[in-house]
Symmetry: C2
Subunit: 140 residues, 2 copies
């Protein structure tokens, strides 16, 4: 589990604390590699730290999101799903089969700049989920 403790200084420097619960959740997400729903995270975290509770998982995910350590995205059903923050990317999910792929953020750079100019909003930076039909399903 020690592989996730490298995050501790990041939190401490901002006045927050590293706890066993946060460590376990980061650990679960690091080893998952993909997106996980809160309840999946809860189940896996409980294997490593049986005392952890559901509210803590939800609050921790929100906390880690605000601090940039994990990234939320919308599942095809509209709910949040979480993954360890890595290089910026987005998703396209197939309306038919539910499968998804990642899209490099570079493709959206221009759009973000256009939007900021057009709207006056700053720091636009959401992780987006597009819906479409994947090649397999389109040809079926």
């Amino acid at each position: 589990m020690s592989c996730a403790s490298e995050y501790a200084p990041q939190l401490r420097s901002r006045g927050f604390r590293m706890t066993s619960q946060r460590l376990v959740i980061l650990h679960v997400l690091q080893h998952a590699g993909t997106h996980l729903s809160p309840s999946e995270i809860y189940k896996q975290a409980r294997r490593e730290l049986p005392g952890i509770t559901e509210p803590t998982v939800y609050r921790t995910l929100e906390f880690l999101t605000e601090n940039g350590l994990v990234r939320p995205s919308h599942s095809s059903h509209g709910h949040f799903t979480y993954q360890i923050a890595r290089e910026d990317h987005h998703h396209i999910i197939c309306r038919a089969c539910g499968g998804g792929i990642e899209v490099a953020h570079a493709l959206l750079e221009n759009l973000y700049q256009t939007l900021e100019k057009a709207s006056g909003y700053r720091k636009i930076g959401s992780h987006l989920t597009f819906l479409g039909v994947c090649p397999k399903c389109a040809s079926a």
Copy 2:
């Protein structure tokens, strides 16, 4: 309430039925003008049709979405919010104050084409919600 009944033929031609529940929900959304959460829709619908139940509201919203009569979007907290389907547009929501504005779809046309080329996916068409910081909050 009769102003929403123009949708009936659209549904019937696809083998579905127009019911008082669907009519009321469409009516509520038409008069709201903006986005409403499922529970707000439920509250307002119950004033016009006291017998309506929560599961029906959720199922109806999903049904109307699939049939293109309403459009879901993500609230700043990640949950779905619904509005009557009109001309295509997206949203930018302020991370600080929660306020939002609409963005014409025209601005995203290019991106959608780029994404379809790059990914092989077809019919990409999701209603997007960007997060940013609005001019007011940025200057505060």
